[in-house]
Symmetry: C2
Subunit: 328 residues, 2 copies
């Protein structure tokens, strides 16, 4: 097992190095660190690691979040993403972990590593916690303009992933919508309902945004624009509720002991609602294992992303998606 | 001032009668109750009211939520919505309050009462609470398939309403989107950005769903499909957070006194996040005062909706929208 780490992407580059080294030590994995060589070497001086398991590949540039991904990929040949993707494409490593620009990762995945044959788009699944079960949302923001056939493709990618990686026998697939009955929604969703109903997917119908968390749907299919609105509004409310409640708690008449007690209790509860606790997520549809970690990942998040990457490699899920798409 | 109440719509018809009577007593208003005459008379027996201020108009049918609104309007001539809308159109009352089917209200508003000349669609504004200020969302679910010109119309309707009813001088208008920079989103939102930027609206740019509650934007413009996803996901998270936190509180090791104290504190806080606390909302774009109350409105909610209706009539906001649209 060999993991490739993009060191130039992400907000905390030293933390990525620390997380990668910790993953190498704890999971006994070979690692390739792709980034500015002098910076990496300087950081390594303070760390305990096994020299035989570590390789450094110099990459002087980085693709920033505000750059046009496709343009930047062509222009910045010496960026860590281009070099790391090329290593993955050449099978020099089993998986790539990056906290860099999502757009650049998607574009690099499509143009350098390549799509799975028969798949048109790559998607980023995101998981929403729930009362009964978690719900995976596809697409969570990679594809802005879609059509019913693409939404069926998203459903297929998600279904195989849930079966093969999460070992869910027959994942329940819902369609995000404004009402539960057939015929609800705009023309995209009305048409997609029909396409999903006629497919081999275990389609359970429309799901309203307010019912996601108390439903047992495993996969929620939607347009990338709507998925992003959904996920970010959840993030916004949680953030608002936390600030609002803690602010009021602080100003309340409760005694200090009660305040501390309630504070601690609330912290634990709201943590469960926070999607950031997961280390990373796979780019589905790409013919390779690319793991997107959060931009602000710290050492622990990167180690968790590495652990996830290892389990993705071991599950062989990309090969299984290929077999499914090719009808094997 | 005379208010028309739709008694057949909504989940709790006796509560609507009670709320209407209470509004008549408290605000000294004439009222018309449109619904099954025998049912209304039976309910009135238990209430204190001024006979001179109350008129009953018999209406035997109701348009249900699951009916096709346009079809039901034509077929159910004896429904409370059709009769109440006709009374409003004929200026027999100043405003109509209904807890019935939103679809039927919108369709009835368009086909019976009529649109404001120059306006293509009717919209339902909904208000999201925030740290700095509240944000009005238009459209919150009336219009599923839109275009940039319609979104500009929504912005205009909202702007005039915020100016004339809420007395906000120059309302800040944002566009719901997946990123803050220009050029983000799908083709509808990219194009709408340009249209809003070139208009006379005080357009402040794209607003991400997670930033709505900590922003000072007065009006958030979006497609009805996306607005509905946004509002229902907020509703879902609040509901989930409440259940989750209260469930854990009940099961926790805290003593009974702390549990009760904490429960009470949380109830107050979460109530602030609940959009249902507002009694009703106006249908903007219609040439008349139609107030939509929640389907599960109780006596208090109906009384609040009536209070809101009176202030809408007094603000003369529909006339002011007409002047604005006609360029006066």
């Amino acid at each position: 097992m060999k993991l490739i780490f993009d060191i130039n992407g992400g907000d905390n580059k030293s933390e990525i190095i620390k997380g990668a080294i910790e993953a190498s030590n704890e999971f006994d994995t070979d690692i390739i660190l792709v980034g500015r060589e002098d910076f990496i070497k300087e950081n390594l001086q303070e760390l305990d690691y096994n020299k035989d398991k570590i390789e450094i590949v110099d990459a002087k540039e980085n693709i920033e979040n505000n750059e046009d991904p496709a343009f930047a990929l062509r222009r910045k040949k010496d960026s860590s993403i281009v070099i790391a993707m090329t290593l993955l494409k050449e099978k020099k490593g089993d998986a790539l972990i990056s906290a860099g620009s999502t757009g650049a990762l998607l574009a690099g995945g499509l143009f350098i590593v390549g799509r799975i044959k028969g798949i048109k788009r790559a998607v980023l699944p995101t998981t929403i916690p729930g009362m009964k079960s978690n719900t995976m949302v596809i697409d969570s923001g990679a594809n802005m303009d879609t059509n019913p056939e693409l939404l069926l493709e998203f459903a297929t990618l998600g279904e195989v992933f849930l079966k093969e990686y999460y070992k869910i026998d027959s994942p329940k697939v819902g369609l995000l919508n404004v009402g539960s009955e057939e015929g609800k929604g705009n023309s995209l969703y009305k048409e997609t309902y029909k396409v999903l109903k006629d497919s081999n997917i275990n389609f359970v119908g429309n799901i309203e945004a307010r019912d996601i968390m108390n439903n047992d749907v495993d996969l929620l299919v939607c347009d990338g624009f709507d998925g992003n609105i959904l996920l970010k509004s959840i993030e916004g409310v949680v953030d608002f509720a936390v600030k609002n409640v803690f602010h009021s708690l602080e100003k309340s008449d409760l005694d200090d002991e009660s305040k501390a007690l309630f504070s601690k209790f609330l912290m634990t509860k709201f943590k469960n609602l926070d999607a950031k606790e997961v280390g990373g997520t796979i780019l589905l549809g790409i013919d390779g294992n690319i793991i997107k970690a959060h931009g602000n990942s710290d050492e622990r998040a990167i180690k968790n992303a590495a652990k996830y990457a290892i389990s993705i490699v071991e599950s062989n899920v990309v090969k299984k998606i290929k077999d499914k798409v090719e009808g094997k």
